[in-house]
Structures are given as C-alpha cells and as structure tokens.
C-alpha cells in the first residue's frame, strides 16, 4: 500500500470528507510525526507501536570508492517498536 492508496482507502470510509481534506490530513500527520521525532519526542500509538530515536555512536567508516578511512559522527536514527496488537495481528496472518 502506498501513501496515495492509504488516502484513497481512508476517504472511502469517511465519505462525508472531501478526498482533498483526507490527503491534507494524511500529509500533515506524517509531517507532524517526523517533526516531533526530529525534536527528540517519542510517539506512542496504543495497539500500533511506538517511534523513538536511537543513538548511533561515532565510528570509523570507509569511503567505498577510494577505500580511505573517514570519521563518521554520532547520530540519531528513527526506531519503530510494534505494539502488542500489531505483533499479534501480523503474526496471525502467517497461519492463514
């Protein structure tokens, strides 16, 4: 499923809202979640999962082209941990 399909499916179930509003809403949700993560906030959606930041320590890397060693700075990366309902529902599908 892509973002435009997600917008389409939500719009089908919310037929009193114009598709344009659903589109704006989905984009705003994703943008707001990104913004909050970028500010170091956690996001906790019950039954779905939580998003947080994980720290990656500085390390020595290599330029794949030249083979030269380069110092890579420490950085934060987004992390998602699925919630219990998500884990259970997805895992059930393996048996069907």
């Amino acid at each position: 499923m892509t973002k435009s399909e997600l917008i389409e499916y939500i719009a089908e179930k919310q037929d009193h809202l114009p598709v344009r509003d659903v589109e704006l809403a989905v984009k705003l949700l994703l943008d707001y979640m990104s913004e909050m993560l970028a500010e170091g906030e956690r996001i906790e959606i019950r039954g779905f999962g939580s998003f947080s930041l994980h720290y990656r320590a500085p390390r020595m890397g290599r330029n794949p082209k030249t083979g030269d060693a380069v110092e890579l700075e420490g950085k934060f990366v987004p992390h998602f941990k699925p919630g219990k309902e998500m884990r259970d529902r997805v895992n059930e599908s393996i048996h069907s």
Partner: protein
Amino acid sequence: MPNGALTKADLAEKLYEELGLNKREAKELVELFFEEIRGSLETNEQVKLSGFGNFDLRDKSQRPGRNPKTGEEIPISARRVVTFRPGQKLKARVETYAGTKP
C-alpha cells in the same frame, strides 16, 4: 510534549487546529490512519509512505530458545514480524537532533 510521548489525542488535536476538522472527524481520521496501515500489514502487504518510511514484513523461521528462569529449552515458533525502514527524508531530519546522547 512536556508530559511524555505524543499520542493519538495529540495528533487529532493537530488536525483540529490546522485543518479545521471537527474533533470527532479528527479523532476518526487518526484512528483510520493507523487502522488502515495495520490492516494492510495484517494481510501481508508492505506499506510505503514516501518521505516517512516503509513498514515491511519479515518471516522468521523457528529457532531454539530457552526459558530464562528455568533454563529449559523451548523452540521459538516461526513468526511474521513488522519492521520499519525510515525514508531518506525522515532520517535526514532526525540525524541532526542534538539531544542528550545516552
């Protein structure tokens, strides 16, 4: 969020403030947003949200495990799990966060 994590209520509040949806519509939309993503994953279909990231599915085969309390060996059954791969745009936004390093 001064008191802890961002929740569905905060997301609904944002839709109400910025898009002028009424509170009920905003709440329903947030519910549907997460429910549709979960529904897709539940039918073993990957979800690709450009700019944000992809939710992928991985099938793991059975592996040996152990009850940490008793030390007894018990197999961990085959399972399907969700993984999230952040998109380039989200990674770039988050990388520069200058918060306290653990």
